[in-house]
Symmetry: C2
Subunit: 299 residues, 2 copies
């Protein structure tokens, strides 16, 4: 892990004692975990804001942030601003932040969709100060108490439209993300959203849907959850995720996600047809093909 004593040299060229000021907006699972790890690094003063007052208070209490401040203060006074709020809120707030930051401030987002966020500032005169990022980490829990030390260690991060970010901002942003333990890959915003529709957003929908279906039957069969094994718990785990995070993600990635859902439903229909036609061979072949997931997940 690199520490922040190595980052932000340009911000501190006049004095070795000046701390880099990082402001995290949104102190839930992702923002809280980012703040927690950065706040533990030498040379960082960590400011935080959350529009949920009790989250902000809790983040201060448990030491995830050094100082709580209002949004305007963060926008005007930080070296680095990190956005960890729902993707629809990022899309609304990001242009306003770029309007008002200092000329050297870097803004990094952490949103799970990228096309619409990037589009919201594509023509902004300060576009170069924005780094479009997505650290691929999380759990099904939410809020500052869900923040985990080392959440991003050995995880992947995706940066989109790197060419639109100023060289110094890209450099600083990558150093910060690397210091969290992330390995960065570069994709276009469109590739990002398509890929994530399949390997993240669809699996959330499949899990929410499994939860809904089993809850429905549970109304009549109240001991059904006594029978739930580890396989069910693993498959339904993501159904515990926060709707306020995921409703905007699904909405902002609806085009790719509808395509993925159509393919998913199409395969379910194939299983259903195999069952209806008493055709074990057909379901066997589908599962044999699905087994190839073992190889690709291990490569």
């Amino acid at each position: 892990m690199q520490y922040c004593k190595n980052i932000g040299e340009s911000q501190r060229k006049n004095s070795k004692n000046i701390m880099i000021k990082i402001g995290v907006i949104g102190l839930g699972l992702i923002g809280g975990s980012i703040a927690r790890d950065l706040n533990a690094q030498i040379g960082v003063t960590l400011y935080g804001y959350d529009n949920n007052a009790s989250h902000l208070q809790k983040a201060l209490e448990i030491g995830i942030i050094n100082q709580s401040q209002n949004l305007e203060y963060l926008i005007e006074n930080m070296d680095v601003i990190i956005l960890a709020i729902p993707v629809d809120k990022i899309e609304l707030l990001l242009p306003r932040i770029l309007d008002s930051i200092n000329k050297d401030t870097l803004v990094i987002d952490s949103g799970s969709t990228k096309e619409k966020i990037c589009a919201s500032v594509s023509d902004h005169p300060r576009r170069g100060r924005f780094l479009a990022a997505h650290p691929l980490a999380g759990t099904e829990y939410s809020g500052p108490e869900a923040a985990i030390k080392g959440l991003f260690l050995n995880k992947k991060n995706i940066v989109c439209e790197r060419e639109k970010t100023d060289a110094d901002a890209l450099d600083l942003g990558l150093k910060i993300l690397t210091s969290l333990g992330l390995e960065t890959l570069f994709l276009s915003a469109s590739e990002h959203d398509k890929h994530l529709a399949y390997v993240s957003h669809l699996s959330h929908i499949s899990s929410f849907t499994l939860g809904l279906t089993v809850l429905d039957i549970e109304k009549d069969e109240n001991q059904i959850f006594n029978l739930a094994g580890t396989g069910f718990e693993s498959t339904v785990r993501l159904a515990k995720s926060a709707p306020q995070t995921w409703a905007p993600i699904f909405n902002k990635n609806s085009t790719h996600l509808i395509t993925a859902l159509d393919q998913y439903i199409n395969y379910l229909q194939k299983f259903k047809t195999a069952l209806e036609q008493d055709d074990s061979n057909a379901s066997y072949r589908l599962m044999e093909e699905a087994n190839r997931i073992k190889e690709v997940l291990n490569k």
Copy 2:
């Protein structure tokens, strides 16, 4: 844990030195794990058979069983026979085993479906020597090398049609299952199959289907699995499961599973409609309802 020195008293009444002879047919994940734990108990001689010769050899080598024997030997010479083969094979073999066992032999199955297995021997003159069981444990791996010590510890077991099993056979069967660490619940075969369709079989189909869908897109997007996070891995884990186990399960539980699949697809369509209509509130409400899984899984 109880040990087998406490079981099978009726089988050993003539001598304290006679070991109880248990034969496990099918030495994969489930049979291998049963054999491994029983073989570690005092007073048990563990015989095994698998129609896959290399599995049988491997089970001997790694000490899961004491002796390998052919099927006929096991049927004619055991105090207890445990069936851990695919459910369609249980349905075929069970009547034949009951035809040929000694009058005191107990036969326990471990199949993941129960209605058709129970129906296959419902009128058999030796029905009382059969205990219809389903230990709710497993992993996505298979074969004797996947056998795990303590796989059943603190897990649930379901026994169906207890009233059709002779009192002494029920007593001995439950002692054996309890000695593995299982807690037994009693359900009708029909209730069992309905419940399991929802909390086990459907989640396997949803996971296989997720694997298929993402493998499809991966043909064009070869780096997609670099982006797979822990959420995806959790949701797709069951897609690694063995088709030879699961094709017969789906087939033998097709009526309940088709009903469950219809409900599941119906909920997916609701998500899809919400996406198509740009209706974040609708998907929010679906997820909020699904979140109730948190409470029921913890109760």
